[in-house]
Amino acid sequence: MMRANLTLEAIREGGLDLQAVSDYYRQRIDAYDDRIGAFVTRTDVADETGLPIAYKDIFCTEGVATTCSSRMLEHFVPPYSATVVEKLEQAGFSSLGKLNMDEFAMGSSNESSVHGPCKNPWNTDCVAGGSSGGSAAAVAAGLVPVALGTDTGGSIRQPAAFCGVTGIKPTYGRASRYGIVAYASSLDQAGVLARTAADCAWVLERMCGHDPKDSTSLDEPVPRWSDNLEQPVSGLKIGVVRQWFGEQVDQGLVQVVKTALAQLEDMGAELVDIDLPELAWSIPAYYVIASAECSSNLSRYDGVRYGYRCQDPKDLQDLYSRSRSEGFGDEVKRRILLGTFALSAGYYDAYYRKAQQVRRLIHDGFKRALEQVDVLAGPTTPTTGFALGSVQDPVTMYQADINTVAVNLAGLPGMSVPCGFSEGMPVGLQLVADHLQEGRLLALAHQYQQQTDWHLAVPAWLEGEA
């Protein structure tokens, strides 16, 4: 029986006919995506017999346009596929297409896309979140059962929270970054969005693993997470991070998260108060480091070998500076200039080096806390999905990531799990574990999802037959 909240597990174990499944999703995309804007390129074909998946438009897919939602790469067709894409193809997946995102993964709302914004399926006047907005919205709207995204400062967890789906960013280095367009190399990590933790586990264990083509890829065995989801909650210590409940977090949302934590306590977990004062520095440290790294990573876009080139360049400098000025959107330019500043002579020590020192303090704070508890918890985001166009000021937009960025700075695995609604919009519970402990997160989320059904909710307008 096919329905909008169909899981990959149900497709595989129910012995559903994969051609019928792919027709089902194709019809749903035809019927609904014009009102959402999740897909930017479609590659679904009739008679498809692979497991359905879709990829954020930051993953190189051989022969299929990969735009990063930017004019700079609007017509770029990669001659190769990302390692994680190849691994999932080998595991039996077929892509339905490429998904909308914030330009070059820089954003928290999917409003900075050259293809237009991605809307939140729960309220199409609101943002899907970012930068993996398309991935979250596509799963939430039942256009695809699982999607890949990337997370540099919260870009899987935040849109997952806004759209009411489950999202996981594994430990830095678990998934190969080869073939993923780079934003901030010490922070970027690929991950999964799906309805359930069980589906996340199944996809994650097939996409992770050492890759010699990515020198930051961890040489660690990948556990069979999907075989170890039945770990009991009783006795588990959950650290409730005080700073994640700060005054910037909406009180209605806080109540929903507190209810979820109380439920975990009823299930046998022990809640422990955790104080992490270093988290106050997360946003400034993140924006210096991410901008610095992006200024370096985006210097490859020069209009010479691929990507956008301006018309009639009068000399080489004009070729570079006009191609880049015309090819990049405002937020990308802001971050490149900020990063250029932070790395420039005279400012490097005060900004970049300082931020790297603060990064170590944040990392060490987390490690100390994770010696006392098994998992850290709190709201994923300070608000639910906000209205399109309502946040114009960059600094205000950056604050949307306040609960998520520190996890990337420390390289820890993090998840967002749907835990309820506040004023009709989904709320996400963030769970963070120590390095290489994705299993703890997935098992806890899975147990929570056996007792609740927030993750199966579908917006009313999307429930019907396509």
Binding site: F76, P284, R324, R334, F341, Q356, R360, L361, P394
Partner: protein, 95 residues
């Protein structure tokens, strides 16, 4: 920290991104606001703290000295905006 037009102009040259007067002004304001946010870091006591570049601090792995890259010019060059005889074309640099 004084964010003036001259600083933005210098940064735009370093970053090879051309800005007109309106963009320069808008960026001046934005960068000033972001730097105000970022200047909070100056309050943190980082005496003796080693900067952290990589979250897990693994060492750069080495590989065997073996040729693995092949000539893929035929698949890469169709992506180029301007090409001739296997060479990438740019405006004349040397007179």
């Amino acid at each position: 920290m004084q964010i003036d037009a001259e600083l933005i102009e210098r940064l735009s040259i370093l970053a090879r991104i051309r800005l007109d007067e309106t963009q320069n002004q808008a960026l001046r304001q934005d960068i000033a606001a972001i730097l105000q946010l970022v200047d909070q870091l100056q309050q943190v006591d980082t005496e003796g703290v080693e900067p952290m570049a990589h979250p897990l601090e693994i060492a750069q792995p080495v590989r065997t000295d073996q040729v693995t890259e092949t000539d893929q010019r035929a698949s890469f060059q169709p992506l180029a905006p301007a090409m001739e005889d296997g060479l990438y074309l740019v405006p004349r640099v040397v007179e």
